[in-house]
């Protein structure tokens, strides 16, 4: 078992899948000569050459759509968006083409493609470069969406995404690329559609995905110091969503706090909160709490940008509310 960064785990997955299957190629801005804007593709150009590691012009709509066409004609593209912020320029290609070709053609076509890159708030990047678009992708039937929170999951889920015959969106994060974690040396896959119980507990369930899973784990530590046992569920896959694992946990703890770093309206967190409410209403001992990003564009100022995001303190307060513990919610 090696300790590895999230970035290197993704790199290892890409490398292994490119070696395994000639049809797999990587395309995007700066993926080749520059070794990746965030160094996820480091060394791949040298190893696989420019045919399979393709630097593009700054042309998200063009190269994303090109990826869709290449997938229709038998290849397995991995499209890197330098960040999900720029993916909006390609939104039409993902929503109207990648996700719908199979259905519109009556099942004749499939689009085995991966769209990946960093998503969510970063640091000091201001409004246009620091935001989560998880809900944009999760909203769309015909897409699969994964959001790994650890290096091992990043590795195993990216491999599964590349082998999947559907379009899969992978949500990474700038600030996670340098995170370290244990990744087994043996090759393995993480199935798409299965949540992870990141920490077992019995008093309440903290539910999140991607970067804020770490916040949930830190909050669980703090709660443990006060004798409260929090379970942490890492959704990992947003579509399909593992409702069974989610519901089983809340049925055990009777209390839930959902954490999502996106804006609150029409968000992943809002949907998850609704699902808990409808599936677990009879066992809930408190209304589901939702800790989201603030409903504002991200400011540049560091104090303000931190205030705009979920924090351990915000999670502890929400936990206090579902536990009816004023000492936590005021503390």
């Amino acid at each position: 078992m090696a300790e590895m960064t999230y970035r290197d785990a993704l790199n290892r997955a890409l490398d292994e899948e490119m070696k395994r299957d000639e049809r797999v190629f990587l395309i995007g801005e700066e993926v080749g000569e520059y070794d990746g804007a965030y160094k996820v593709s480091r060394g791949l150009l040298a190893k696989y050459g420019p045919k399979r590691v393709r630097d593009t012009p700054i042309s998200e709509l063009g190269f994303t759509g090109l990826g869709v066409g290449a997938a229709l004609a038998g290849l397995r593209p991995v499209v890197e968006w330098m960040t999900h912020n720029f993916a909006l320029l390609a939104l039409d290609q993902v929503v109207n083409n990648a996700a719908k070709m199979r259905q519109m053609s009556g099942g004749q076509l499939s689009v085995p493609i991966v769209f990946r890159g960093p998503n969510g708030p970063a640091e000091y990047l201001a409004a246009q470069h620091s935001q989560s678009f998880a809900a944009y992708w999760m909203h769309v039937p015909g897409l699969l969406v994964v959001a790994p929170a650890t290096p091992a999951d990043a590795y195993g889920l990216l491999k599964s995404a590349i082998r999947n015959d559907n379009p899969v969106v992978v949500l990474e994060a700038e600030l996670m690329y340098s995170w370290k974690g244990e990744v087994p040396d043996q090759e393995f896959l993480i199935p798409i559609g299965k949540a992870r119980v990141a920490r077992e507990g019995s008093d309440l369930t903290l539910i999140s995905f991607s970067k804020p899973v770490r916040l949930a784990e830190q909050a669980a530590e703090k709660l443990a110091e006060k004798g409260i046992s929090a379970e942490v569920i890492d959704l990992r896959s947003l579509r399909p969503l593992d409702e069974e694992t989610l519901a089983a946990s809340v049925r055990k703890t009777h209390r839930a706090v959902v954490i999502d770093e996106a804006w609150p309206m029409a968000s992943v967190g809002a949907t998850v909160s609704h699902l808990i409410m409808s599936r677990c209403f009879d066992v809930l001992d408190a209304p589901v709490e939702f800790v989201s990003g603030e409903d504002v564009p991200m400011p540049y100022n560091h104090r303000l940008e931190l205030a705009a995001q979920p924090s351990v303190e915000k999670v502890l307060k929400a936990a206090g509310r579902v536990l009816y513990r004023e000492d936590l919610s005021n503390g």
Partner: protein, 324 residues
């Protein structure tokens, strides 16, 4: 029409004429069925433009070549060899349709004939077609992709991004803008900075050709040349100047153009022109033409009957074919 281009075998010439007539008859039937409310939603007829799809697609080998187009797609599907029964059943929303009743008029697909739609967002099929050509190059096939779109798509960013990608990577693709002169109700001249689309190719280092789209032999000749170049890694743009006789879709009152304009184009109808040419060259006679008319009329009657008699999709089909 110039007789020096008659380098094509007689059966190929007759086959092009037949394809044009089949498209015309299919569209006329579709218009009638729409009037009878057998077909709903948007239905964009190809009448008037038949020479473009019939001439261009006749060049291809669809075991290795691909075709993509926009939502005015019935003609291209038929030119690729789609059975009109499946096409009409699709318009009727039946499970026997080419897309099992899920796509309708704008989303015809026939994967076995390399016809990849039938795409509804203006210009959005252009990057996709470019990707198909990318795959052909990657796989080392010598196939090419024909990418059709209308004048309305010409100013979409998707087009310009694609032209650039095709040239920097030398992709085997031919872009064909079917300039039917009206983007819905907007004159192409009103919204185009340069009134010669073929010149745009120059900005991307590609060859650009202007072509009389009502002349099937000229379409064929130019596409032949462009396809041969594309197989060598030289993408190009062809502007086929054509005209649609019907409205943008079935619901278009056409207040933006005059009866005289339509009549002027009908006077040089692509099918009538080609037919007269073949008769003059002694390739077609009156009885042979009558036979084509009868065959196509019967074929389209059968297509309507097939569509009428076909079953609706079962309700559970709603959830089918979304995820593999």
């Amino acid at each position: 029409m110039k007789s020096e281009v008659i380098a094509y075998p007689k059966d190929e010439l007759l086959s092009m004429l037949r394809t044009m007539q089949r498209i015309r008859m299919f569209e006329e039937k579709a218009g009638m069925m729409y009037g009878q409310r057998k077909i709903g939603g948007f239905c964009h007829l190809y009448t008037g433009q038949e020479a473009v799809a019939a001439g261009a697609i006749s060049v291809l080998d669809l075991t290795k070549d691909y075709v993509l187009t926009a939502y005015r797609d019935h003609g291209h599907a038929i030119a690729c060899g789609m059975d009109p029964k499946k096409a009409m059943a699709e318009l009727f929303g039946k499970v026997t349709g080419c897309s099992r009743g899920k796509g309708g008029s704008m989303h015809f697909f026939d994967a076995s004939r390399h016809f990849l739609g039938g795409n509804g967002i203006v210009g959005a099929q252009i990057p996709v077609a470019t990707g198909v050509a990318f795959a052909q190059q990657y796989q080392g096939s010598d196939g090419v992709t024909l990418c059709f779109f209308g004048d309305g798509a010409f100013h979409q960013g998707a087009l310009h991004e694609s032209f650039n990608l095709a040239r920097i990577w030398n992709l085997p693709i031919v872009y064909i803008v079917e300039n039917n002169q009206w983007g819905m109700g907007t004159s192409w001249k009103k919204v185009s900075a340069v009134h010669d689309f073929s010149r745009t190719a120059e900005a991307y280092g590609m060859a650009g050709y202007a072509c009389e789209g009502m002349d099937v032999l000229e379409v064929r000749r130019i596409v032949d040349m462009a396809v041969a170049e594309a197989r060598k890694g030289n993408p190009s743009l062809i502007e086929a100047r054509t005209y649609r006789y019907k409205g943008h879709s079935m619901s278009d009152p056409q207040k933006y153009r005059t009866r005289e304009e339509i009549d002027a184009y009908r006077a040089r109808d692509a099918i009538a022109l080609f037919r007269a040419f073949l008769e003059k060259e002694g390739i077609l006679d009156e009885s042979a033409w009558r036979q084509i008319e009868e065959d196509t009329a019967r074929e389209m009657d059968e297509a309507v009957r097939f569509a009428e008699e076909s079953p609706e999709p079962a309700l559970l089909e709603l959830y089918a074919d979304i995820i593999v």
